[in-house]
């Protein structure tokens, strides 16, 4: 009988989970760090799904955070309503999971409605449409009193803990990996490589562009839901162009088409953001240089320019870590 080999990804995931959990329990990581780790994990989902659209299928979406907003508001509204109706019996995570998935489905539907007409456009035009879409979502949320308008959706119950977020992130990565390394994923990749040749290899390019968009939107919606239930607030400004552009920087920094790269970049950039915030506060309060946190964006802009000039292919290029590669028998 063959020796049963545990998949490397499972081992890696379990190790990561155990280490963080032990560090939390022993008190090495305080609440602040746990929040940063949770945010990083959510950004892993967001960056790697944006990578599916921009890196692997080769489209150019600038409104990825719009899908996260849909997911956050849909699931946040649902859990808030349920919570108000029945605060005592909402201990079970089942209803929460359903709400998160519904948020993802809502985002996927919006992704389909946006993607189907606009993915006939190429390059810059698609970028403009998706940029507009992100802003439209933000403006709409700003003007619906039912979800709090510019105040944001407040009082969302806190359901996202490290375990829940970790599990969602882990399964997202597993599913994305499976998709990318299947014939469907290769069809998507071929569109990026050469759209005409892809079409003439029999690939229904429109279908696969829309598919990439819808799958990306679905998981972004889930990430948005998780974020809302972590921060207990969903606010229109969280999902604006600023946030979408940070996702873009993560994808470019990590490497277009590399899920590994997106994971690494999501972690490093989330920690960098916090580091910069601390550093800027220190410069302002102790040294007396009058700067605010908006200067983090300057650092990001410089980082992006640096990548474009010196490391065009990003940190990982197209490579994947061995952990993420599904091995095939080589005949």
């Amino acid at each position: 009988m063959d020796k049963i080999k545990l998949p490397k990804l499972l081992i890696f995931g379990a190790l990561f989970y155990l280490v963080v959990q032990v560090l939390i329990l022993t008190g090495v990581l305080n609440g602040y760090f746990v929040v940063i780790i949770n945010r990083s994990l959510i950004f892993v989902i967001l960056a790697s799904t944006l990578n599916l659209i921009n890196g692997i299928t080769g489209q150019f979406s600038l409104g990825h955070m719009g899908f996260a907003a849909v997911g956050a508001y849909v699931s946040g509204t649902l859990t808030t309503i349920i919570f108000k109706l029945n605060p005592h019996h909402f201990a079970d995570n089942g209803a929460f999971l359903v709400c998160i998935i519904l948020g993802g489905i809502g985002a996927a539907v919006v992704g389909f409605l946006i993607g189907f007409p606009s993915l006939r456009l190429k390059g810059d035009y698609l970028a403009i449409v998706t940029l507009g879409f992100g802003e439209i979502i933000r403006t709409i949320l700003n003007n619906i009193a039912f979800v709090g308008g510019p105040r944001g959706l407040l009082g969302i119950p806190k359901f996202s803990g490290f375990t829940v977020i970790f599990l969602f992130t882990f399964f997202t990565i597993v599913l994305l990996r499976n998709l990318v390394q299947s014939s469907h994923g290769r069809a998507m990749l071929s569109i990026r490589e050469n759209e005409l040749a892809s079409e003439l290899a029999g690939v229904d390019t429109t279908k696969y562009k829309v598919l990439g968009f819808v799958v990306g939107a679905f998981f972004a919606g889930i990430a948005g839901g998780l974020l809302a239930h972590l921060l207990q607030i969903a606010h229109p400004t969280q999902y604006g162009f600023y946030a979408s552009s940070i996702l873009l920087i993560m994808v470019y920094a990590g490497g277009m088409g590399s899920l590994t790269g997106s994971m690494i970049a999501a972690f490093s950039l989330t920690f960098l953001t916090e580091g910069l915030r601390v550093g800027i506060d220190w410069l302002r309060d102790s040294v007396g240089i009058p700067i605010g946190t908006e200067w983090t964006m300057v650092v990001y802009a410089l980082l992006l320019i640096f990548i474009m000039l010196f490391k065009t292919e990003g940190f990982m290029g197209m490579r994947e870590s061995k952990i993420l590669i599904i091995e095939e028998k080589r005949v």
């Binding site: 599913l175 499976n178 998709l179 299947s182 014939s183 469907h184 994923g185 290769r186 069809a187 990749l189 071929s190 490589e193 050469n194 005409l196 040749a197 892809s198 079409e199 003439l200 290899a201 029999g202 690939v203 229904d204 390019t205 598919l211 799958v215 088409g257 197209m318 599904i326 095939e328 028998k329 080589r330 005949v331």
Partner: protein, 259 residues
């Protein structure tokens, strides 16, 4: 008489005011190697683009196995059984040789997106089968030592063969080869001629090719059509066509023929 694989009837195509293809009518019979030749800008590649659905002809009909395919999307035409290669290689250069070929086999697979998300047993079985079939194609093209190399690292001659393999992976009935011998030395050209014949015999496909290379055309084609400025100037067996005065004019200029 059986229905020709490809039958083009009164096909005309304009780019704005420019008549790129003028009233072409010809049949490509099943199982032949058919050559379309002509000087630069005579409308050869445009003809291929019309047949594969990249352009829609201004007028006329294109019948594939007796059915009109005008106006269909390129990938649908591929599914029906027309594959092609490109004059300027269009390889998926960041993908491996195996993946390049597997993409072309993708539309024949049945496993859905959900099956691939979850790697269900049926999906895995089908993937293995596809990989074995593609490996056969890779071996046929003598690329087995390259199967898992990224395509951009391959030399030119191997990329040409890879493109033919990718076209074959769609299980076509008709293959269009756009200048397959471009940039090849005499030895490579000779190997290519053998390969094209072998492909025709082993896969029972019809081959329709464009070529500049006279020696290649006369050596391999069973029927040729010569065009210039979108007009047909000769059609027939290659050995007859090369003697045609109009053909010589088109290629060498009027004075050369008169002298």
């Amino acid at each position: 008489m059986s229905v020709p694989v490809l039958s083009i009837q009164n096909m005309t195509h304009y780019f704005g005011g420019l008549k790129a293809v003028s009233d072409f009518t010809f049949d490509v019979p099943e199982g032949v190697i058919y050559g379309l030749i002509g000087p630069n800008g005579s409308g050869k590649t445009t003809t291929f683009n019309l047949v594969t659905g990249i352009y829609t002809p201004t007028q006329g009909k294109i019948l594939f196995e007796g059915k009109d395919i005008v106006g269909q999307k390129p990938f649908r035409i591929v599914h029906k059984g027309i594959a092609r290669t490109f004059q300027n290689l269009r390889i998926f250069s960041n993908m491996t040789v195996m993946d390049n070929i597997r993409v072309a086999r993708h539309f024949t697979t049945r496993a859905g997106v959900f099956a691939s998300f979850l790697r269900l047993p049926g999906f895995i079985r089908e993937s293995e089968q596809v990989r074995e079939e593609c490996m056969q194609l890779i071996k046929l093209m003598n690329l087995e030592h390259r199967a898992y190399d990224v395509a951009k690292n391959l030399p030119y001659g191997e990329l040409r063969r890879l493109e033919v393999a990718r076209a074959l992976a769609t299980k076509p009935k008709l293959i269009l080869l756009d200048e397959p011998a471009a940039g090849m030395n005499p030895k490579e050209t000779e190997d290519l001629m053998k390969l094209v014949r072998r492909v025709r015999d082993e896969f029972k496909v019809t081959i329709f090719l464009i070529e500049h290379h006279m020696k290649f055309v006369t050596g391999i084609c069973e029927r040729v059509k010569v065009i210039d400025f979108g007009e047909t100037i000769a059609e027939g067996k290659p050995e007859d066509v090369v003697k045609d005065v109009k053909v010589l004019e088109a290629y060498l200029g009027r004075k050369a023929v008169v002298c």
